[in-house]
Amino acid sequence: MSTLETEPRSRGLGERIRSDPEPATVWAGACLLLLSVQFGAVFQTVRALFPGGAVGSYVPAFVGAPVAAAGEFVGSLPTLLTRDVIPNQGYRLPGQGWQETFLGLEPAVAWLVRVALIYVYSLAWLALLWWGYRIFRSEYRAADWTPMDDKVARFRSHYWGISGVVVVFFFVVMAVFAPAMGPTTVERNIQEPFSYEVSYFDEEAGSVATETVGTANFESGSSGTPEENVGPLSYDDYGRFHPIGTLPKGNDMFTFMAAGARISLSIALLSIGISVLIGVGLAVFTAYYKGLSDLVAVIASDSVQAIPQLLLLILLASLLRGTWLGSLYNGAAVLTIIFAATNWPYLWRAIRGPALQIAENEWIDASRSFGQRPRRIMQKHMVPYVTGYMLIYASLSIGGIIISVAGLSYLGLGISAPTPEWGRAVRMGQDYVTTASWHISLIPGVMIVLLVTAFNAFGDGVRDALDPQAETEEDAEIATAGGSGA
Amino acid sequence: MASTQSEPLLAVENLRTAFHTDKETVYAVDGIDLEIQRGETVGIVGESGSGKSVTARSIMNLIEPPGHIHEESSIRFEGRELTTLDESEYQQLRGGKIAMVFQDPLTSLNPVYTVGNQIKESLRLHRGLRGSEATEAAIELLEDVGIPDAPRRVGDYPHQFSGGMQQRAVIAMTLACDPDLLICDEPTTALDVTIQAQILELLDDLQRERDLAIMFITHDMGVIAEVSDRVNVMYAGEVVETAPVVDLFENPAHPYTRGLLRSIPGNQTDTDRLETIQGDVPVPNEPATDCRFADRCPAAFEDCRAVHPSPIAVGSDGQDHTAACLLYPESASRSEAVGLHRDGIDSDGGRDV
């Protein structure tokens, strides 16, 4: 946000906050409150991000051990929104209701309660952030009004864009809270099912029995015929609730999809982030210096674009499959790098126009004439202008990445088993589309369509908010057509 | 230049064109009367938003929904009532007897077809010419409008012409079928001043050669002075003054006209500040119940905001000069004059003095 410098910037942000600390402290207090509820989970997630195996072996023991221990402790702090506090797995004794579930509620309801709470919590965070923005704007910002305010206002009244944000929010929450959201966890149900047990009421024996999750799964698969099918919103023979049914091998599909959301969104957002950095940096650089750098960039980007992206993905994925890079995050790292490396040409091209436009502006020459260093010029004048446009094209490209990742997984080349991914579910359910097990193939597809459309809607909203009368490239339309052709 | 007794070429009576949107209704043209005789140039002058372009388009029936020409309006061309024509009859008229030149010549021409192609389109539509006949006629027309090397240029694309040449080509297109009336909507506004002079000269020549009547719309008083025989001054959808051009400039009656003339930089006597008319043209979104110029008028008095002025004859007899202002007729007292306007006397324009 650029501020209008009509008066000398005598007071920095810190000073301003200090002179009127009340609103800020109230806000910070609320943040802390919300955070405290989920301390344990936050730290656990942070810990899980590090590929422990690769890094851990390089850290000397006397440093590594205490850190690990501290991590364990923090990770075991109670967290509200977990399966421990609101369990949804139990069994029903005849005449006595459900045991071991939250408040004795039916597993379905207990699960719903937890999911609802998760969303309420996330909405609370969203409200908090918005409130913080309003406080900043009214109390602490130097300028009364900036052009950004108009843009925000326009976006807020753009119903299509807002609907996109809502759907994306829905999926992001699903991804972030995936371990807590599913009726069970990936580890229990998908990765190591034979190391865990489930208690259920055995009707024949008339008593409570336990069984390994693996065997239970074996008997709960959906393979097309009505007898061998656990469809959406139903319980299996072991008293477990499946919001969207089970996969052919019996794994709970919701857990699968939520974890898949995590992977898809992580890859998409991370790789786009990298591409954006490359694209903006390159655009600003070539627009400022022009000439040779521009020519080289054009040839480089055209060459990369000349290679069909999906084919390149297939090639690289196959090549790197057996290597250490390919096993990082089960193939996710490779995909992220490849997408970042192949998407920047499009993004750079898309904002090249605006970047050149602004480089032509006279105030660039003016800055240069009084000795402003190139890097500062680029930073201060060009980047803010270009960033808005970049947001449009980036959000329109994200959909393509999500579809491509799913496509690759469908072919078996993307994320390798047993890590969940939406495309693999489509493959698994391929033969059952017209049968009772239609949910396996159809639901992932629908989710992809929803998520991609939501990102596109968001991009449309941003574009209209930035400049309602702009003629944006029709390349933007091409980008949204499922990206590389998956 | 005084009105003759014969039927005018174009007689517009009580033309009302309104745009009905969800938010409001804009009475873009709110009951105007106009006349154009054969072979004369009638100027329509006014600021943006005065309704001049809508008037032109109403005459050509180029108004699209939510725009709508009121039933009470009458447009008579060569004695024929146009408002009752259906679309196909109007199509025969457009480009044939009545033609129109628009403001921006570059966008008036379709960029993907040659200039010759577009001229021949008119020729085919109205005169049934095809093939080499049409091409010859097109070349002739280009020469008539003063485009050099016409036989080669007829195969060129619009973007290969300069701005002035483009406008000439557009004029050639309109002349293809020898119209009787040429409506020009700000034809020189988008051009350089020197080119502007050339185009005006061209129009003048064409008028003499072909006995062409011209309706010339502009906001530029200087251009009006040069081309018109008679002038209509429009404000907020109404004609506030009508006069022969010399009389208008020598004896402007309506305060608005006076303000316009005073604000021409060349007319300024006080060299410190440029005189302007304060304020903006209002959007006429209600039927007229008062004088729409009252808020900006230096001579306004109380009744101006209560009584709608009708056109009243002013000046000496025989000059055919009317103004819609409560200050007139000068000979009458203030209250008498207001009474006249209020009762709607001379509602048909008060022309025949």
Partner: protein
């Protein structure tokens, strides 16, 4: 600058692009972890007499830059080598001749389907805004953009093979064909054979073309809307041109201009998307071949195919430029007008 010069400039620029693209391919292939010799021998052996022999045969013992030169020269003189793994010993050109026609057939019909359905719908929606067809076009465009075509393919295959359930026997409709099998393109002049081949590829073409179709609908609609409000359209009306003339002559030709990159953008989608669709529909085309080659480490096949695809893509780009120069006389004139 005349249109021809503009075209020439574009052609010239595409040469380094092809060079770079192919070089990148080479780097990936040779620097990648897959050992070509080991791949041929089909095992993990990296020692022994056999292995060394194979390495010698393939020229892998020579310095890398020499291999690079060989690679590039071979490709550009169209010596595409032989397949090592999938069909050992078969020249790539033979494989191309075998697999390419099916992909071309599929691609051709995809483009046609998208054009024939997408553009008219888009134009109709633009001419009649806010009508049912307008909403359908907008909505369809939006949703189709988001649909993964492999998913659509899966659904399509299921629907068709089980079409009896819905009261419609696809397999025996008009001509008797199987669903999941490559179309036989041997005797296209015979009408029955032609119909059979067409029918076999139509669902796949529909799926493959659907993304482009959505795009064309949406862009076509926008293009028509903008053109409709252009000044020259009003001028044409003022000339007394009847509605049909205005629409067919003035609006459409100008509305086509922004559609050109879409149509050529289709080619990009085709080249990539064909892999998935061909796999699902079991049409043994180039995409499918590429996939098999990549997964099995058949490097020369992969390299040559990639080269073919790159050339194809670049050619499509050039085609797009050619189309532009044909349709829009202003091309190359940016900034010049006098």
């Amino acid at each position: 600058m005349s249109r021809l010069k503009y075209l020439g400039k574009r052609l010239l620029l595409s040469i380094p692009v092809v060079l770079f693209g192919t070089s990148i391919t080479f780097v990936l292939l040779r620097m990648g972890p897959i050992d070509p010799a080991a791949a041929i021998l089909g095992g993990q052996q990296t020692q022994g007499g056999n292995y060394e022999q194979v390495r010698q045969q393939l020229g892998l013992h020579r310095p890398l830059w020499e291999q690079y030169i060989d690679f590039m020269v071979d490709l550009f003189t169209l010596k595409l080598g032989q397949s090592w793994v999938i069909a050992q010993g078969t020249p790539v050109s033979e494989l191309l001749a075998q697999y390419a026609p099916r992909t071309l057939w599929l691609g051709f019909w995809s483009v046609i389907v998208a054009l024939v359905i997408g553009i008219p719908l888009g134009f109709y929606a633009g001419l009649n805004p806010n009508s049912w067809s307008d909403y359908f076009a907008s909505f369809g465009g939006i949703v189709w953009r988001a649909m993964p075509n492999f998913w659509l393919a899966v659904i399509m295959v299921s629907l068709i093979s089980q079409s009896q359930k819905f009261g419609f026997d696809w397999q025996n409709w008009v001509v008797s064909t199987q669903v999941v099998t490559p179309p036989s393109l041997n005797n296209l002049t015979d009408p029955m054979e032609f119909l059979a081949a067409l029918k076999m590829v139509l669902p796949a073409a529909l799926v493959l073309g659907s993304a482009s179709m959505g795009n064309e609908m949406r862009i076509g609609r926008t293009a028509v809307l903008e053109t409709k409000n252009a000044n020259y359209v009003e001028v044409a009306k003022a000339k007394g041109a009847p509605g049909r003339l205005i629409v067919w002559k003035h609006v459409f030709r100008n509305a086509l201009i922004p559609l050109i990159p879409i149509i050529s953008g289709e080619a990009f989608l085709l080249i990539g998307g064909s892999v998935l669709v061909e796999t699902v529909f079991a049409i043994n085309g180039l995409g499918y071949l590429f996939f098999q080659a990549a997964v099995n480490g058949d490097l020369p096949l992969v390299g040559s195919l990639m080269f073919v695809f790159i050339v194809l893509l670049v050619s499509v780009n050039i085609l797009q430029d050619v189309l532009y120069t044909l349709v829009d006389p202003r091309v190359g004139y940016e900034g010049e007008g006098q």
